[in-house]
Amino acid sequence: MSAAQLASALGLGALVLYVLATGLYVLNLLRPSAWTGRLATVAAALGAVLNFAALYARAVALESVPYRDLLGSMKLFGFFLAALNVVLELRHRDRSLGPFLMPAALVFMLVALLETPVPRAPSPQFKGSIFALHVTLNMLSYAAFAVACALSLLYLLAGRALKHRGRALAGPASRLPTLAYLERATRTSLAVGVVTLLAGLSFGFFWAFRIWGPQNVRWGLDPKVWVAVATLVFYAAILVRARSGAAPVTTARLCVAGFLLILISYTAVNLLVTRLHSFT
């Protein structure tokens, strides 16, 4: 079995586990039981492990970072979502994020599996740790913003249930985390996203300077760069507002809107507009 085939097989295994985890998380939200919850966590964790192994096999097949194209980066994004879900769950002993994050991880993994990587010699510029850090940190920031979006949706749902009298005390809404926790966790996710995006962009700029030199800054005109900088400014502004006492409902709404911006940047901008970030 070639490394490319192994990557596909491992990816398929991860996908199956993500499907299982999603089903179990939703079931656990509707009809909670200790075993359903535990099985959901185990499926998500094993899925993340297989996802990581698939990325590694893909890296071997491509002889490069495994996520320099759209589908590879989707696989990485799926991995980050599943891994963050498990980490947050173990940290806070709360499974309410699973029904929101795992379907997203599942969709990304499903799309990523549509292709089989074809081994080809990578361009020398895509080798090296600076480029790898640039892409990895940017993807991690997107995953953190996805978590902030999921937490914000939960905040809006929980708040809505509380406004409707007893609805917050019965049914699935009663199993959501507290508003105070959701608000705090959203701010933390925002902070992680802003810091990693800033670091990822810095590594990107550094890498571009090294490749093209200071005299050639045309890469700075690439739409993806501008969209990424705008995303950073937008999220940094939300974070500053949230930390200085903005209404949590407004922060939650902005986080949901911000994630739509990321999805557009990740898909439409990468596929249709940009040249330098067009997923070679």
């Binding site: 509380l162 406004k163 009298r165 007893g166 019965a170 507290t178 508003l179 006492g245 949590p248």
Partner: protein, 424 residues
């Protein structure tokens, strides 16, 4: 032999009688000792809560329930006629079902209340401690506790609170992970404000402020609950800076308006979720604050509405809980029925006879080689051994009082593994 219960509870007995026959742990121990000494019961336990005093036990007397009532009449110095008139009693399976329903919260004044399971556990502990719990009481109470636990785990009978303070605390728990460090503003200094504030303190509230028109009363309540008083003029500012507002004044008009709160929150840097529990009638907080983002207001009507919804949800769970009770009753009945000495002797004989036949069959070839009559002799010999082995257990199972007989029967069933293995 009679498995019985007799009790006085909130359904049939007025509180004036219930309070006179209430049992403290010491009184329950003493009563149990007397009930055995006077041979009214051979074993048993007393379940004592604020709503019930019930005696469960095994007796050899046909008039055991009446004898217990007579005893309690002199023990508690209460008129025997009144006790007999207001008692609830039953025998056999009724006893089992009644205790299982009690342990499950199905017989409680507040349907599905949680404390009763602990009280049944306490009754069992006390009976074990005094030596009053023997084989039947052990199995009866262990089954009752198992039944109560199953009802709690497999139904939502007790999951949703039905009292206003319980709902208020649950709401607090939906907004904040813990009350410690959360700023709580108590508006008003009357009894309702004080009792609810105390409840919040018991549940971890540490940062409390009290605001009342009369500063003296505010200071007194603040001192009582470990908070600090806030001048009435600063009410809205204090409200905007709080995480939780508990309001219960006697004001005829709202003391916190939506406009004032919105402006104060705009000025304040504290913008997290604000939960308002307005326990006053007329309401202290203008309903229009519902329009403000991150503000969650619950007035008395809303809390009562939730209480009614929760009570209805509990009632809907009753059939499920009753099914669990019936399942446990059947299990107990099967066990208890198997302790009848005729059944035990029959089962024991069957078991030994089976072993005898098996062994004779295994050696049949060798026995045949010993001569033409050997087979008959071996049959007679082994049959006689089995009968002799069975003689003492058969006699022993009929000796002693009811509890002693049942203890032996239970031991024989367990030692000789006379029961089929339980299905998982």
């Amino acid at each position: 032999m009679n498995l019985l219960f007799i009790g006085w509870n909130h359904r049939a007995t007025p509180v004036e009688v219930r309070e006179r026959i209430a049992f403290t742990p010491e009184k329950a121990r003493e009563a149990l000792k007397h009930l055995f000494a006077e041979r009214i019961l051979t074993e048993g336990a007393i379940v004592a809560t604020c709503n019930r005093s019930e005696i469960y036990g095994l007796s050899e007397r046909e008039d055991a329930a009446d004898a217990v009532a007579t005893f309690l009449s002199s023990f508690h110095q209460v008129d025997g006629g009144v006790l007999r008139q207001t008692a609830v009693s039953g025998g056999g399976e009724e006893t089992v079902r009644h205790l299982f329903r009690v342990a499950s919260g199905l017989d409680s004044m507040v349907l599905g209340e949680a404390q009763i399971l602990g009280q049944v556990r306490e009754a069992y502990r006390l009976a074990t401690e005094t030596g009053a719990a023997r084989v039947v009481t052990n199995r009866l109470f262990q089954s009752a506790l198992e039944c109560g636990k199953r009802v709690r785990n497999e139904t939502t009978l007790g999951a949703r609170p039905t009292s206003v303070p319980g709902i208020a605390l649950l709401l607090v728990g939906r907004v904040f992970e813990e009350l410690e460090g959360r700023r709580v503003l108590v508006v008003g200094a009357g009894e309702t404000a004080e009792l609810t504030a105390q409840l919040l303190v018991e549940n971890g509230a540490t940062d409390l402020r009290v605001c009342n028109r009369s500063e003296g009363r505010a200071a007194a309540l603040a001192a009582a609950i470990g908070g600090r008083a806030v001048p009435w003029e600063s009410l809205v500012t204090a409200a905007a800076e709080s995480d939780l507002i508990l309001s219960a004044t006697g004001a005829p008009e709202p003391v916190i308006t939506a406009k004032a709160l919105a402006e104060a929150r705009h000025r304040s840097r504290r913008r997290g979720p604000l939960l308002i529990l307005d326990l006053a009638v007329p309401r202290d907080v203008e309903p229009a604050v519902d329009e403000l983002s991150d503000v969650y207001r619950y007035d008395v009507d809303a809390l009562n509405e939730v209480a009614a919804e929760n009570a209805a949800a509990r009632r809907a769970e009753v059939p499920k809980a009753e099914a669990i009770v019936e399942e446990t009753v059947v299990k107990f009945r099967d066990w208890f029925g198997g302790l009848h000495h005729v059944d035990v002797v029959k089962a024991l004989r069957g078991k030994l006879e089976g072993i005898r036949r098996q062994e004779v069959e295994a050696y049949r070839g060798k026995i045949a080689g010993l001569g033409p009559d050997a087979e008959k002799v071996v049959e007679r010999l082994t049959d006689s051994i089995v009968s002799k082995i069975l003689h003492h257990p058969t006699v022993g199972l009929k000796e002693g009082n009811a509890s002693e007989r049942l203890e032996r029967a239970d031991a024989v069933r367990a030692l000789f593994r006379l029961d089929p293995p339980e299905k998982p």
